[in-house]
Assembly symmetry: D2
Homo-oligomer: 365 residues x 4
């Protein structure tokens, strides 16, 4: 109930705080027999980790993952996989001056009202640092999905603040600090340099895609895969909007164009984002999300303290000027976790997914 | 797992098909002692039901609800409340010609691939008719929330197809067939009349709001209330996008404006949509959704049959030219179910919500 | 949370009260493609239903089941199966005199303390009548298990009150009103006739067995199949004890005999009751339960009323002198539901159960 | 689904293997504001830990618990509490000779059949060592229950092998290595010394009791508290039977004695074990369990290897001659976890448990 376990059949229970001794997760439901080591997980963590460019927080965390359980002689055993990540660069003193005040845009006020107390060090439990274990868990799901079904995941930034980013190629994404699918990111660098100088922060829009998805995954009513994706994405810190396929663009579409036509060669178009009635069509899953500007900025903000008295807040410490940048591998991981869960659900209901990966011509029930 | 139960502590299990004998739901977790009769539920069903104007489907269903269990001498007993709605106007013959073909934009193809068979009568389980039991369940949640906490729910249409709709007053919403918050809906009528003549359909954008929400509801990580709202909304038939507060507008905001400032009198602005860190601030919950155009249209569409052969589909029968119209009471109901669930969650964790309805000045943990 | 849904992947949500208009359940998670009609379910309901002999309650309920949803053209569709059973012989007046008193051994007092109110008609929600929908749901599970895996379920009475019942053959069970596995039940008839004349009631001990169970089903830690069986059995009204295999007999065993030896031909003995480490061995599942005497008796009992004042209770109405008699088909059904759930769980985790039905000699991972 | 999370609202997710680097658990759902440190947990772990007498395994594990998350400045924060226990005395070489064979009575064979592979070191995931994190989690539940509601838990051994143990006083339990409620345990010592010399093992019968339990806890149908207790107990390694109250003794009772009479001063007797209709009466919860003999014994046993060939197994290593001895604090912990969960459930449904701790005379709904 307390919302720290993600998933129905492929469960990930997340624990830890930003400035506690360690963070981590327990994956329950991973099928047995998957070759797995820390080396399968670390690359995705490295994509998300702080301190890798001047456009992200300078907190220096290696985010080295340790597999504590669930793997024997290099193979998953079917039992819980505990992943542990030590916190090594906590500077709690940075946060001393905000203990009794509520930072605008942050969860300080709501946590205090909910629980009557809160861990203020680095945002405590509300820190985006808690997405690291999800990236780690997502890497396990990704590996299984790629090996067993050929399903893969990619993501990129499509807009940062006022700057829209065109799409050239997925190949560019790893070559710049913005996860931008373009060769030349000088405009983005200029924008971000000016932003950093101003002490302010900006929002971003991201796109994540699952490729090679079996057909027939998802549930018809509440656990539509769309719904589970929306839940997963809106649960990422700072996300305020989620779209599947055409998204809000569907408002001005007509039915005669919005409904993707079927041909013997496949669908014409993907307004549906790969999902009809909550169930995968076999096309790419197409998801877009909006990430709000970082709430921690160097500009003074009006606020109140725990006595309800007015005060002013300036958030020092080390922060991302655009939290949307590091959100790309997080969103990929969450999408992978959703797809993985639905594969297991499908196996439970229908026995296997073999028929689901066959081309349409070959399928007759 | 099969996704027909909504909620964590206030559970609603939905059953039935569009053209079966009946549809309904079982509510489990409703607190005891709530005065409840069919008269509390029927008004919301009447707002959603078909046949009430020329702009919605002409299928004539009274959607009369029967309380089968869980109420004794006019009070809920704390045991499961089964709500039953008979199907009275099924015309299965209307669908005979689409049995072997897959309608574009519909779940025909994906159901067939998932299950190997499907109930084609009126869309079977994928019909939006299955939202009726949710509206009924939502009415129960609404009644409890209003009586115990003073929380209320409103919704309206903010855009239909190409026509944006301004906001004048919630009072106008019940006075026109579009759930539009404006006095003069002639432009909407003209637009819809032309659309119906063309045989096509259009999308819509809706806004739903919860007012008088206690502060401190929601879970910090995955079951952020934002995430649960996104899940609930994206699970409504035809919804392709969900926004909380500023939504996609946050992409071009700066942190210095996006983070709503706090003052002794309350928050300045509501970009957050009433949620910080997944937990309610006590402000209105602000949600927007995009509803795609109805997939069933009178214009011929390219498709394939179950042998993978090309064919053409024209969907006769009785359909809504804009399914977004009747989605307003549905979205309200789903929002009410989410809030209700989180109230029960909060009681489990923190004992009660009494402190949560107090004004900020009065709250010291 | 409110405990009216049974199962993890094969869910059964139960609703209704003893004297409401109807009782029933919603089965969610039944695989698609199973041939199913009311005729598959009714025989098990008939085995459980009241009024079939003078040794059970004379309430005359046909317990005719109706499939409301989830079946199309004689096959399950993979969507929720709602089963409805009308209550036809409620005589609420029988219970008028106990409205303000708490019957010893009944849930009257605890419901009143929990909820602050209760439905007193025939025990309301606490009536054993609510086991009828479980027998119906169990019949669906039994059919699937028999068709797909060859797994079958049997049960019998092994002791009634002071009278132990030997085991002669499963074939005798359907031929007497006691579910006794013996040819001559005259001793049981004499015992029960004397008991009825005394106005008192007695307890019973039952045995239920699953045969043809695949090996490898069950979870290692909390959802050991033993644990799920214990949960299922102890949830049946009036059950006070559960044993797997040797059960309490293991207390006086030595390890050298308790641990069933393995040979190339199979296990020697079944002290484990078909479960090691919570996982099926492929042997029969062996379960025993203790059912307490019916609490409703014709002998006056000391009690209190809702004002805490002393009073006397005599329970008229129509009651089973030994509720254990009709518990046999109930226990079978619950065991079938547990096995069914674990088959689906196993498919999710390991892909299929094909390897699990192979003989040991053929299995090499 | 994979059964490594215990509980509905007070969740405990367990991870680790007997000979991995560490074992532990994540508690989710603990209310905020509870004073908590390792010193609150360690005493119960010390009662369970090995190596404390010659009658238990000589594996020397300090079982020192570390709180990794969820506590700030000595108070629980309402976020997940991760508890970590390092494994320090693994001797994997002890198990080298049983890698390819299946020990009778153990989970070796069933794990191998389920997963296709297994971690054989010390039983891997099937080791009773995994009960240590549950004892730790139970200590957290015990502390909250004692502080908030005055509920406490005790347990003792009532029979070891052939030797029944009378009840003298709970005060004796901590003063002998058997958890026996008697002053003189010389007969037990003699019995166990002879057993150890023989190389064999024996079973045991335990009793656990919750005292000061609020009235009205539990759910009416499937999540009867009896059912949840049965699930919890049968999930403990080696447990084969569970009784509530009179247990199997109810078979030979009559209704006129089995149903505990109510008087203004309270119930007369406790055949029900503190539960009517699955809901607490306010009396002590009375539970008995049967623990089978340790399967690891020094006597040679007949078995097979993974090729299905006959072989002989002698289990060297360090084992408990009676696993029932150390099961007492485990059973107490599991009972505490069940009660804690139902308290939170009750708060969700009914708002608080204040009325539930009031004496009967004071309670009028």
């Amino acid at each position: 109930m307390s919302g720290n376990t993600f998933g129905t059949l492929f469960n990930v229970t997340n624990f830890g705080e930003s400035h506690g001794p360690a963070i981590g997760c327990v994956i329950d439901g991973c099928p047995p027999g998957l070759p797995l080591s820390e080396a399968d997980i670390q690359p995705d963590l490295d994509r998300r980790r702080p301190g890798t460019s001047k456009f992200v927080t300078q907190r220096n965390e290696p985010d080295a993952v340790q597999i504590v359980s669930g793997v024997y002689q290099g193979l998953t055993t079917g039992t819980p996989i505990c992943l542990l990540i030590q916190n090594t660069d906590q500077r709690s003193k940075d946060y001393g001056d905000i203990l009794q005040t509520f930072r605008p845009g942050h969860a300080d006020y709501t946590y205090w009202r909910k629980y009557g107390l809160r861990d203020p060090r680095g945002g405590g439990r509300s820190s985006a640092r808690l997405t690291a274990p999800m990236v780690a868990a997502g890497a396990v799901a990704k590996k299984w999905l790629k090996e067993k079904l050929g399903t893969t995941f990619v993501g990129c930034m499509t807009q940062i603040g006022d700057v829209p980013i065109g799409f050239e190629s997925w190949d560019h994404v790893p070559n710049n600090p913005f996860f931008a699918p373009v060769a030349d990111v000088s405009a983005l660098e200029d924008y971000m340099n000016a932003l950093r100088k101003s002490g302010d922060s900006c929002g971003a829009r991201l796109r994540v895609v699952a490729q090679g998805v079996p057909v027939g995954l998802g549930q018809p009513l509440f656990d539509k895969m769309d719904a589970d994706i929306a839940y997963a994405m809106m649960g990422i810190n700072a996300v305020k909007g989620v779209e599947i396929g055409a998204g809000f663009g569907c408002v001005t579409q007509k039915g005669s164009t919005a409904g993707d036509a079927l041909t013997p060669e496949g669908f014409v178009g993907n307004n549906a984002g790969g999902l009809l009635g909550g169930i995968t069509t076999g096309q790419d899953l197409e998801v877009s999300i909006a990430v709000k500007p970082t709430s921690s900025i160097l500009i003074a903000r009006e606020s109140i303290d725990s006595n309800g008295q007015p005060t002013e807040v300036i958030t020092k410490g080390r922060h991302d000027p655009c939290v949307g940048i590091r959100a790309t591998p997080i969103a990929e991981a969450m999408l992978a976790l959703v797809v993985m869960d639905h594969v297991l659900q499908h196996r439970a209901q229908c026995g296997d997914v073999a028929h689901a990966v066959a081309p349409i011509a070959a399928v007759k029930p």
